[in-house]
């Protein structure tokens, strides 16, 4: 084979490789030229017949031709492979705009949401989250909180009594007592939970609702500390600075007792329908723990004191989400619950 015919073979084969439209055509071209019995192999065998001084040049020519063709083959093969893959994948088209199958995520009850938020907040401040029974004894619900049977403060809370003399707790305050008995001082605790009052139900009254009781007992707890703590807490709850004020309020388990008001978050003070034009919204009762309550729970009031507060979780949830009818909360209606 002459050098020219080699060059011709290369040119022709390159053309064939480039023109191959399928992997089969390409493979046929490769076998014919680059295969073990292909044209280049045959030419290689003929090299022995050449005079020794011409062999080196011819060999170089053959190697060059082989490399060129192999590169061309590889390039074409890659291109054909890619085409095949992309055609296959294209055939696998899916409509990803269709809704994903399977149930949608469910919804937590709005009170659970608020309660969890507060539990996390208080835990971050070092408060234990405690639970107590919903059915309570008269002692824990009243007597241990400085409300003996003959005390008119019992009328402040309409009570559900149970056969056998126990009652449904009218507030989460009994958990204060249980917490003091169980953990002793110093103590930081909250007790969120369900409470009951014997009231008829309407859009703003429920016989079943949720409270969060809080208490801190330490060596020297003052009204100034209570104020600081409430401001910090309420800023975290409302996600903004709040202005608070304390005014006298009577609760037998605290002395002094306060009603805590916050400056109306709607109007900021000048007065609006939400705050009944007063600029303030009554938010929670609180106070310094009455020494009698500490004493009854086995804590020496000469050594320890503290503050306590009660937050209406139901009311807070209604404020947060703008719920205008309290009955929705225990109504079980998914059209309401799925909004949370």
């Amino acid at each position: 084979m002459s050098e020219d015919s080699i060059r011709e073979l290369v040119a022709g084969s390159l053309e064939r490789i480039r023109a191959a439209r399928t992997l089969e055509e390409l493979e046929a071209a490769r076998v014919e030229v680059l295969g073990r019995k292909g044209a280049l192999a045959i030419a290689g065998k003929e090299m022995g017949k050449l005079p020794p001084d011409a062999r080196a040049a011819f060999g170089k020519l053959l190697n060059g031709a082989k490399q060129t063709l192999e590169q061309s083959y590889e390039a074409r093969k890659r291109s054909l492979d890619e085409g095949a893959l992309s055609r296959r994948l294209d055939g696998e088209w899916l409509d990803l705009t269709l809704p994903a199958p399977g149930p949608r995520r469910g919804h937590l009850h709005p009170i659970t949401r608020i309660q969890r938020e507060l539990e996390e907040l208080f835990r971050s401040l070092g408060f234990a989250v405690l639970d107590g029974p919903e059915v309570e004894t008269e002692y824990y619900n009243f007597d241990a909180l400085n409300i003996p049977a003959t005390h008119p403060a019992r009328d402040m809370q309409d009570t559900f009594w149970l056969e056998g003399g126990n009652l449904l707790r009218t507030h989460t305050s009994p958990v204060q007592v249980r917490g003091m008995e169980r953990l002793g001082p110093p103590l930081r605790m909250i007790a969120p939970g369900r409470v009951f009052r014997n009231e008829s139900v309407d859009a703003s009254h429920e016989h079943t609702f949720y409270q969060l009781e809080g208490m801190m007992i330490d060596r020297d707890v003052s009204v100034a500390h209570l104020l600081y703590f409430m401001k910090t807490l309420l800023a975290a709850i409302f996600h903004r600075e709040v202005t608070v004020r304390l005014r006298p309020g009577y609760f037998p388990f605290v002395e002094p007792g306060f009603e805590l008001d916050i400056q109306c978050l709607i109007c900021g003070g000048p007065g609006c329908p939400v705050c009944k034009q007063s600029g303030w919204v009554e938010l929670l009762p609180c106070g310094l723990v009455n020494p009698n309550v500490l004493r009854m729970s086995g804590i020496d009031p000469g050594e320890w004191n503290g503050f306590a507060f009660g937050l209406g979780l139901t009311r807070l949830a209604m404020m947060r989400y703008g719920i205008d009818d309290i009955r929705h909360l225990q109504g079980g209606d998914l059209r309401f619950l799925e909004q949370f």
Partner: protein, 769 residues
């Protein structure tokens, strides 16, 4: 409790604070005000008028010419039937308007229109000179205070108490309306016999004769009406005035109707009958304290007077009772007879015994005005318990500073306490000995902490700057129960379930529908409604209600609740068990898919939980109910709600005891085991069994023969149909065997397989191998 601004103004010298700012001050320093209502608005500019002529006009009206003295004459069209020449009444300047073609200037007003009393039968008939203002009647502002915020303050149930607060807040002087010198110092004709001085610490009485029972003067009627009380007659109105003023409840007996000359204060005899002023009959027992004469009970102490000795138009002699009763005793009797009166509400707050005689002195002054010619008979009868003044309270000013968190000048503390009429003596530097006035000493103020409130509210809590507390850093104790419940909530919400809250009350009907016995439930003694009388011992009735309601507008939904089951116990508190109840409702389908999904939820909560078929309860589909076991313990139940309970679709239900599940979930601590280095080998086995043989049981049986080298037995599939006989199915399992130490030989796996086959065959099962 309603307070008249005008009245407070009479009791506070130089009061210069308008009603609205006064209301705010009271709210910030004393008790919560609920609002201000105007009273007697029509009295503004109203004057006494003399009707000179009254000519008939259209309809029932008359055209009257009235003489207003210095204000001249006015022509008024009036519709009142009693408008007649010669009448003295009240004219109010409400402007001019044309009535029946006549220009009418102002109006003649009835007692009801003026706010003086409830009489709207005609225009008011009073005495006085034309053009004079209506005596003692001016437009007023009624400040309403939340009763709850007065629970601890017996003194604030009357105007004097509130006036004392206002005087202290503003630094003015209180004008005490009581003139003790008016009481005679002679011996009393009335005898008093108190049986138990603890129940009745003081009983005072004074007798009057030449009494004339008649309507009260308008100022007294107006004062009571403005507070929402009905004027009745001068004597009764006077007792109501004393109650609203001092606030001492008193009672007037018709002395001619009393038997004997002794008033007994004693426990009622068992079964003793008593008819109250309200014409109700009461049967009493020894826990009720009564006032009695020789013939029997004449009043229920501190609650209500009796009908037999009530005053009437004919009364000419009166015994006026002014007593002090033990708060607890009055409260007990009042709730036992279910009668709360203005008197009992005051007594149960523990009234000041010093007030009984003060009220009698005030009564003397009032009666002389409102029942002219009245005479006192004898002196004051007064029996009382020895009541030594309570020891003064030691108030350390440094301690007070630490409690309030604010520095205080000793002089400021002293001034505040003295304005509130506490006695202050400095026993040593920085220590005050504080004596409590009698009206604050009954229940309200007894320890230094009570004085913190007195000082705090008067300096104003807004004068205290917030300070961050210094407390030891500590990790709070965990609450694993609550944490676990939150985790369960998250799993269910992720699986598409929405949380519901249901009441803790259930009806007997719902309980019966679920096959539970109502008597096994704890019962509410005073339920809000008869269908909410039982405490739930299961969350299922509530969930059933949710399913029924939501099924009205949803085809498919998933709900759950976490709540407490309340189980009655013989003694002590009931058992409260946290449960999870979840349900999936589908209007379409045969219910199988729902059960799959709810079992999947159980599996997500408790990996490896097993269902074991169990007899169905009445609320359960008879062929679709199982107990759930986890780690060998029964933890709950999975079932389809009985189709007769929900006819529009199928509801799959899961009910778990979360205490048990939590105990099992937390039992084992997680430990890493090395990944096996030697390959395992797997083989399949198919067991031929009856169609209703539970696959779970077959699996346990296979497992029981597998031995320690079998790592897992997994369900693969089941099949029924040819070539199997009817009533049969084939259940296939994949078994994986291996060892952490070596690769098992073929012989070993074959032996395991043979052992299982042999074991199952011995139990009567055929195997496809």
């Amino acid at each position: 409790m309603k307070f008249s601004y005008n009245w407070i103004r009479e009791l506070v010298a130089d009061l210069d604070c308008a009603p609205a700012p006064l209301e705010r001050l009271i709210t910030m320093k004393t008790a919560e005000c609920e609002g201000i209502e105007p009273a007697g608005a029509l009295l503004a500019g109203a004057v006494i008028a003399h009707v000179e002529t009254a000519e008939p006009a259209a309809g029932h009206n008359v055209t009257a010419i009235v003489n207003l003295g210095p204000l001249g004459r006015k022509t008024v069209v009036c519709g009142a039937p009693n408008c007649r020449p010669g009448l003295t009444t009240v004219w109010a300047p409400v402007g001019r308007k044309i009535i029946d073609g006549v220009e009418s200037d102002g109006m003649l007003a009835s007692g009801a229109e003026l706010g003086i009393n409830k009489d709207h039968s005609g225009i008011i008939e009073i005495e006085g000179a034309p053009g004079d203002p209506v005596p003692g009647c001016a437009p007023d502002s009624i400040i309403e205070i939340d009763n709850k915020s007065l629970t601890h303050r017996p003194d604030l149930w009357g105007h004097v108490g509130m006036a004392r607060e206002v005087a202290a807040i503003l630094g003015h002087k209180l004008v005490d309306p009581v003139k003790p010198d008016l009481l005679p110092r002679t011996a009393s004709r009335v005898r008093i016999a108190i049986e138990d001085l603890d129940l009745c610490p003081r009983y005072s009485a004074l007798e009057f004769d030449n009494v004339k029972v008649q309507p009260s003067p308008v100022w007294l009627q107006y004062r009571l009406s403005a507070l929402g009380l009905n004027p009745i007659s001068n004597i009764v109105d006077m007792t109501n005035l004393l109650m609203a003023e001092l606030p001492q409840p008193t009672h007037a007996f018709d002395a001619d109707k009393l038997s004997g000359d002794t008033i007994f204060i004693r426990p009622a005899h068992p079964g003793e009958r008593f008819r109250g002023l309200n014409d109700e009959d009461y049967t009493l027992d020894a826990s009720n304290l009564v006032i009695a004469d020789a013939s029997g009970a004449i009043a229920l102490a501190g609650v209500i007077g009796g009908a037999s000795t009530a005053i009437s138009d004919k009364t000419t002699r009166v015994v006026l009772e002014s007593a002090n009763f033990q708060a607890a005793s009055v409260r007990k009797t009042s709730s036992a007879v279910k009668l709360r009166t203005d008197a009992s509400i005051r007594f149960e707050k523990a009234q000041d015994p010093a007030n009984t005689v003060r009220a009698l002195a005030r009564a003397v002054e009032l009666l002389r005005e409102i029942s002219p010619g009245i005479r006192i008979v004898g002196g004051v009868a007064d029996q009382m318990k020895e009541m030594p003044a309570p020891p003064p309270i030691e108030l350390r000013l440094e301690w007070l500073r630490r409690k309030l968190g604010r520095a205080l000048e000793p002089a400021e503390v002293r001034r505040i306490l003295e304005r509130l009429e506490f006695g202050v003596a400095e026993s040593k530097p920085g220590v005050f000995l504080v004596s409590v006035p009698s009206w604050r000493a009954t229940k309200d103020v007894s320890m230094a902490d009570d004085l913190v409130e007195e000082v705090g509210r008067m300096i104003g809590y807004d004068s205290i700057a917030p300070v961050a507390p210094l407390v030891a850093a500590a990790v709070p104790p965990a609450n694993p129960e609550r944490k676990f419940q939150h985790e369960v909530r998250d799993v269910l919400v992720d699986l598409g379930f929405t949380e519901v809250y249901n009441y803790s009350f259930v009806s007997e009907e719902a309980v019966r529908a679920f096959g539970f016995a109502p008597e096994a439930h704890l019962r509410v003694s005073n339920p809000i409604a008869s269908d909410q009388a039982l405490m739930r011992a299961s969350l299922l009735p509530g969930l059933w209600h949710n399913i029924q309601e939501n099924a009205k507008h949803r085809e498919l939904f998933r709900i759950f609740e976490i709540g407490l089951e309340i189980h009655k116990r013989e003694q002590g508190l009931p058992e409260e068990v946290p449960h999870l109840a979840a349900a999936l409702f589908a209007r379409q389908g045969d219910g199988a898919a729902g059960l799959d999904e709810i079992r999947h939820a159980a599996e997500c909560l408790m990996p490896g939980a097993q269902a074991q078929p169990a007899a169905a309860a009445p609320c359960e589909h008879p062929a679709r109910a199982a107990d759930l076991f986890w780690k060998g313990e029964r933890v709950g139940r999975v079932f389809e709600l009985h189709p007769s309970l929900i006819e529009t679709g199928r509801a799959a239900v899961l009910d778990l005891d979360l205490d048990r599940v939590r105990a099992l979930a937390g039992a084992a601590e997680l430990r890493y085991t090395p990944i096996r280095r030697y390959p395992s080998s797997a083989f399949d086995l198919s067991v031929i069994a009856g169609l209703r043989d539970p696959a779970g049981e077959l699996q346990s049986k296979v497992r029981s023969f597998a031995g320690p080298l079998v790592e897992s037995v997994e369900f693969l599939r089941q099949y029924s149909g040819p070539p199997l006989e009817a009533g049969q199915k084939s259940v296939s399992f994949r078994l994986t065997a291996g060892s952490p130490e070596r690769t098992l030989s073929n012989d070993e796996t074959t032996a395991i397989r043979a052992r299982i086959i042999e074991g199952m065959r011995a139990l009567g099962y055929d195997l496809r191998v």
